[in-house]
């Protein structure tokens, strides 16, 4: 019988055999494809990340959430215009008042007019206190909420995410949840695809929820079910991403918005998952003519009371 050291030695020796050189043709193929492969710009402020704890870093990186793909970047040549090397993040929080003068190649299925500017607002970066009602304005719709426990904070710009870190696990890994309240227009064909649904889901909460629930490879844990949030009709569903999601980290796109001011007015903000196996609780609320997308992403291994706290935050929402 082999002893452990024997096994290790044999396995190491066996692994020495095998190819060690990448054929030139493979490298050539990669380099040939660079001009047609736009880079995805980072949008987080590195200066702030350095000051944060482990989960907060993840929450921001995953507040992760949103990859900004300016309309037009995807199909432009790499060495021209907004192609490779150009920033896709608009520094301006206000939408561009004028539409693009040129056709707008985009991952979204059909061209749309520039969104009409609407009001958005959310608390500045702060620790959220018990007993205080915090105001948001989401796509022109005012709402407010409270938190049920201490430990929740908002990140302020650019997305107004709120998050809570749980006590670090013994191995030091980050656990916790973060929440984003915004609008979502369309979902991806699948988490690892670069294409959005065409045609887009209809305007109702139910149609968007069905599109989310129908994404191949995404496990629907609960719902979609009819609920009310703050007295408004809504759809709730919970999805989980498979552990063996095959796309590259932070490239598993799920859905996008163009309405959020941090999308730059003419851009698409793609939200991607940050860790396979995560759970995402979603409430799609129909309120005052807007479709509000409330999503809470919870990392694997996070204590179950976080789910309850998220539900309590949802229950605290009031409109107006």
């Amino acid at each position: 019988m082999s002893s452990d050291p024997d096994t290790t030695r044999i396995v190491r020796s066996w692994l020495e055999g095998g190819v060690t050189v990448l054929p030139d043709r493979v490298l050539d193929t990669v380099l040939d494809q660079l001009p047609a492969t736009p880079q995805r710009r980072a949008w987080w402020p590195a200066r702030r990340i350095a000051d944060m704890n482990t989960f907060a870093k993840l929450a921001i990186a995953t507040a992760a959430v949103v990859a900004v793909a300016i309309v037009g970047i995807n199909l432009l040549p790499a060495n021209g215009g907004l192609g490779v090397g150009g920033s896709t993040v608009s520094p301006s929080p206000s939408p561009s008042p004028s539409p693009s003068p040129s056709p707008s190649p985009s991952r979204s299925p059909s061209p749309r007019p520039s969104p009409t500017p609407v009001a958005w607002d959310y608390p500045s970066a702060t620790d959220l206190e018990l007993g205080t009602r915090y105001p948001w304005v989401v796509h022109g719709v005012p709402l407010s909420l409270t938190v049920p426990t201490t430990g929740w904070s908002t990140k302020g710009t650019p997305w107004g995410t709120m998050s809570k870190d749980s006590a670090a696990a013994s191995d030091g890994s980050a656990r916790g949840s973060w929440i984003l309240i915004w609008d979502v227009e369309n979902v991806n064909v699948s988490p690892c695809s670069t294409a959005a649904l065409d045609p887009m889901p209809g305007p109702s909460a139910a149609e968007l929820a069905t599109a989310v629930a129908s994404m191949p490879g995404v496990e629907v844990v609960t719902g979609p079910i009819d609920v009310t949030v703050g007295g408004r009709p809504a759809i709730h569903l919970t999805i989980a991403l498979p552990d063996d999601l095959s796309c590259a980290p932070e490239s598993d796109d799920l859905w996008y918005s163009t309405g959020h001011p941090s999308c730059g007015g003419t851009g698409e903000c793609w939200r991607y998952a940050s860790e396979p196996g995560q759970t995402i609780d979603i409430w799609i609320i129909e309120a005052d003519g807007a479709r509000i997308f409330f999503e809470a992403e919870t990392y694997k291994g996070t204590p179950p009371e976080f789910e309850q706290e998220i539900q309590q935050i949802i229950d605290s929402i009031r409109f107006g």
Binding site: S2, T7, S13, G18, D244
Partner: protein, 182 residues
């Protein structure tokens, strides 16, 4: 790794990326081949990983961690290729000619066959840990960083994988032991 090259490539410098790709391509390919046990799949995985590196490089916050990050991407690409293998490839495998050269300490062709079969029974998760630790000699904490999982998970996967490989080797020895017992 030249951090300046990484930074230049992050800003869209294709020549800098080409130098990076030359520098890391063979290592990524070697890792992919050892995980997937198939030259063609490994080439596809390496190609996908290099393109993913180019595409997502601006999002790498610490250029000094480029290497660990690149391993993560190649393992991800191996997941995708491994999935294709499960879907479309016949349940056969071919030992690449390079593998026919037994390394020091590898007892027999039969050992290699047993290891090959035992390794193929492991998930990509487990294979990746074995390859990063025992082939690249990465310490467990660096394997954890590369794979984006806790160290405890890496330790557990490694234990499980090595137990499976030892069982594969023991399966080879078992008939001999029975004969001796008789």
């Amino acid at each position: 790794m030249d951090v300046h090259l990484v930074q230049a490539a992050q800003h869209g410098d294709q020549e800098a990326f080409a130098s990076l790709a030359v520098s890391v391509g063979s290592r990524l390919h070697a890792v992919a081949h050892r995980i997937l046990r198939d030259v063609t799949l490994a080439e596809d995985a390496t190609q996908q990983a290099l393109l993913a590196i180019w595409r997502d490089l601006p999002q790498l916050r610490d250029p000094a961690r480029f290497e660990a990050w690149s391993y993560r991407l190649v393992v991800r690409a191996c997941y995708a290729e491994g999935r294709k293998e499960r879907r479309w490839a016949p349940n056969l495998y071919l030992i690449h000619p390079d593998q026919a050269v037994a390394g020091e300490g590898l007892g027999s062709v039969h050992d290699r066959d047993q290891l090959e079969q035992g390794f193929r029974r492991l998930s990509i998760d487990h294979r990746a840990v074995v390859v990063l630790h025992h082939y690249l000699d990465l310490p467990l904490d660096e394997v954890a960083e590369a794979l984006g999982v806790p160290v405890g998970t890496v330790r557990s996967r490694l234990h499980y994988a090595m137990r499976g490989l030892r069982a594969a080797l023991d399966a080879d020895a078992r008939p001999v032991a029975r004969e001796v017992a008789r």
